[in-house]
């Protein structure tokens, strides 16, 4: 017993997460969903029907699938936390590691690792899809569209940002799960938070308020980092947008931790 309890808890939580049957499927669904959308989008674009001038943001379009497929990783994160309550595994867990902080840190750490790994896979897959499909549709260097490459600063920022985005929404889901302890409640809250705001923004007719919603809604702000063109038209800076999302995730996690510390494991 030389390892510090936090690391030990991380390993235990990783084992639990790994052996939960839904984990693999949901992570796979997230990656496959994003890459599938990337294939569909890049396959349907056509340089001949664009512009002139053609101002498509190919990086953003290639990575757009994460908007939809993030559902998988959010469900995974919520379930990883709330399933312990519904199956009462939480009681033996807390008996094995009576100090609660390491337990929950281990769980969040394991989820963060899983989330960013999933993010890295889906970014790699989407970019590969873009590289495979786009040149065939006329998006070649001769037309001003060099192949998507991580050597390009903006594309690299979008790729790294999307990986971080996936990790952050995972933590957001886990935080809400800790806070509400209930699958239905946490999942509804997470989905409403992510998908509700773009819909509300459509209704609001005041441009100032539309701008504010796009700035401070977790999904819209967080995915600003995918933009590689026409950055002035975005509502918030790329890293500032990811910062907004981290604030949401941090708030959910901190509130979840506080509640977890104080509450009985029911």
């Amino acid at each position: 017993m030389t390892a510090p309890p936090a690391l030990w808890a991380l390993r235990a939580e990783w084992t639990k997460l790994r052996t939960l049957p839904s984990t693999g499927w949901l992570a796979l669904l997230t990656v496959a969903g994003t890459v599938g959308v990337a294939f569909a989008v890049t396959g349907s674009l056509d340089f001949a029907h664009c512009g002139p001038p053609c101002t498509l943001d190919l990086t953003k379009l290639t990575l757009a699938g994460v908007r939809l497929a993030q559902v998988g990783i959010v469900v995974l994160a919520v379930l990883a936390v709330t399933a312990e309550y519904s199956t009462r595994t939480i009681q033996p867990t807390l008996m094995a590691v009576p100090r609660r902080f390491p337990v929950v840190l281990g769980k969040l750490g394991a989820l963060a690792v899983l989330g960013t790994t999933t993010g890295a896979l889906l970014v790699a897959g989407s970019l590969a899809a873009g590289r495979a499909m786009l040149p065939g549709n006329g998006f070649t260097a001769a037309h001003g569209f060099p192949a998507l490459s991580l050597a390009d600063d903006l594309t690299r920022r979008a790729a790294v940002g999307t990986v971080l985005y996936t990790g952050l929404v995972t933590l957001l889901g886990a935080g809400l799960g800790l806070l509400l302890r209930d699958t239905a409640g946490a999942l509804t809250a997470a989905l409403a938070l992510l998908y509700g705001s773009p819909v509300v923004a459509m209704f609001v007719t005041d441009p100032t308020w539309q701008h504010r919603i796009h700035r401070f809604a977790p999904m819209d702000a967080g995915l600003t980092i995918q933009a590689t063109r026409d950055l002035a038209a975005e509502h918030i800076g790329p890293w500032a947008g990811l910062g907004v999302l981290s604030l949401y995730a941090a708030a959910a996690v901190v509130a979840g931790l506080l509640v977890f510390q104080r509450r009985d494991a029911g």
């Binding site: 939809l68 469900v75 999942l187 459509m202 609001v204 005041d206 308020w209």
Partner: protein, 502 residues
């Protein structure tokens, strides 16, 4: 026990289950509160300056109207008869094109009888834009029409060539007649304008509505207009009294003319007893596309999320706790249990939705009126207007329908997280995809998915000029799509319940 006795008892049992879970009752109340709260917040953060553009004038009924045309007229007191022959009506060629942006957009083909170039005769309560009138006209491509007060229309013959027109005023009623040869007359209809003083302006006129161009997609929409003008020849002008004709542009015709490079305003020239009149503008209703009722009901999306959770949980929680075995032991006919659950959940959700919708309307409409949503562009919507009442009731039905779909998917999947995610995505997924898809392509998506139910919130007719995809379809089509989903998922759930173990 006969079946007739047991079904109400089953309903009561399901209702007891629903109301005795405190968390659900709180969620139901929260659904209504969230709806009202979000609606009020969104209304407080909305603003419009539409009335500052002066494109809107109030008609005799207070509705926003357009009243722009070229009028050759004289005052007449008391009963009168005016007869003319419209010899020709043709469009004037476009002037210099100043807005090439429009060529990249789609020209909107408005089928309304008020949206055609027209040449005809009119009786009008003075020359103030928006005042009462009755007019009998030959339109380009839609035959002869008798119209009055910007919303009433009765159709005459489908004639497109030269036509004789006659308006007869007798007290408060105006009768329109048409003829091919000036001898055999046929009645078109009777008009009863709201305000008809003893002295009215009588004469002949030409109008030609602007061509409207739209594009939507990528989360936004834009609308552009290009003015048009039409030229008509009138002869055989016969008025029952003596006077001199005076040509005048009514409304903002002059400004319309300058904008698009069309020769400014309208004009009249007389030659050999005939008149050639050039006019531009629209005489008819001009409702803005933005729908105040829809904007007041934004919060429904929040209430919807909570109701989906309740719907799914009312099915899956029974499986999780093994309660379903007790339920089916008590009532072995599983279809009846499902029906009872659906009825109880649907009715409860409908009531919650109705409270949320009416509360949103009551709070958000005054907030919107303080923020530019006022006359003339936006008359005050009232709870008793049929379109408003329809929007509120259908919105509640939409919420109830989605909750029942949640229940059915919960029965099918027996897994809370999966069922909630799928139901939420069935509503929000098509909305987000539809926002991005260009043109009218999201229409099929709205006709076939739960997202189409959002159309129930609109009190105005469908339009392609807004960014929100559900504005493309009508409210009845939207609720139809929801009803189809309810039937489909409940049918599948019923079939699964019968063949599967509890």
């Amino acid at each position: 026990m006969t079946a007739r006795e047991s079904f109400p008892r089953l309903l009561l049992a399901e209702w007891t289950k629903l109301r005795s879970v405190r968390r659900w009752v709180v969620t139901l109340l929260a659904a209504a509160a969230l709806t009202v709260g979000l609606s009020y917040l969104a209304a407080s953060s909305s603003r419009t300056n539409i009335n500052e553009h002066a494109a809107f004038v109030s008609g005799p009924h207070g509705d926003p109207v357009a009243d722009d045309f070229y009028f050759v007229h004289q005052p007449v007191t008391g009963d009168t008869t005016l007869t003319v022959r419209v010899a020709s009506l043709e469009p004037e060629p476009f002037g210099r094109d100043v807005d090439p942006e429009l060529d990249r957009m789609t020209r909107l083909d408005d089928p309304s009888p008020f949206a055609r170039p027209a040449a005809g005769i009119m009786l009008k309560d003075g020359t103030r834009p928006g005042s009462s009138y009755a007019s009998l006209m030959l339109t380009a491509g839609q035959g002869v029409h008798l119209q009055w007060d910007f919303d009433a229309d009765s159709r005459g013959s489908a004639s497109s060539g030269a036509r004789w027109l006659r308006l007869v005023r007798s007290g408060a009623t105006i009768t329109g007649y048409e003829s091919a040869d000036g001898t055999a007359w046929r009645k078109v209809g009777t008009a009863t304008p709201k305000n008809l003083p003893s002295t009215v302006e009588v004469g002949f006129y030409v109008s030609s509505p602007a061509a409207v161009y739209t594009s939507r997609g990528g989360g936004s929409s834009s609308v552009g207009e290009r003015p048009t003008s039409a030229r008509a020849a009138f002869d055989n002008v016969r008025l029952s009294s003596e006077g001199t004709w005076h040509g005048e542009t009514i409304g903002r015709g002059d400004r319309l003319g300058e904008k698009g490079g069309v020769r400014a305003g309208g004009r009249v020239t007389e030659a050999g007893g005939g008149y050639t009149v050039v006019g531009t503008g629209t005489v008819g209703p001009r409702p803005p596309d933005d729908d105040m009722v829809e904007i007041a009901l934004v919060g429904v999306i929040a209430g919807l999320m909570a109701l989906i959770a309740i719907g799914v949980l009312s099915a899956t929680s029974e499986y999780r706790r093994g309660m379903i075995r007790t339920t089916f032991a008590a009532t072995p006919r599983r279809g009846r249990v499902l029906a009872a659950k659906a009825i109880v959940l649907g009715a409860t959700s409908f009531l919650v939705g109705l409270v949320g919708a009416v509360g949103s309307f009551a709070l958000a409409v005054p907030a919107l009126r303080e923020r530019g949503f006022t006359t003339p562009a936006f008359p005050r919507p009232s709870l008793t207007d049929p379109p408003v009442l329809r929007a509120l009731l259908l919105t509640a039905a939409f919420l109830a329908g989605v909750a029942v779909v949640g229940l059915a998917i919960g029965v099918l999947l027996r897994h809370t997280a999966a069922a909630i995610t799928i139901t939420v995505l069935l509503v929000l997924g098509p909305l987000i995809v539809g926002m991005i898809l260009p043109g009218t392509s999201p229409r099929w998506l709205m006709y076939t998915t739960l997202a189409g139910g959002m159309a129930t919130q609109r009190a105005k007719p469908p339009t392609v000029t807004l960014a929100e995809p559900w504005a493309l379809i009508g409210p009845w089509a939207g609720i139809g799509a929801v009803a189809a989903w309810v039937a489909l998922t409940l049918g599948l759930a019923w079939w699964q319940l019968r063949r599967r173990d509890a």
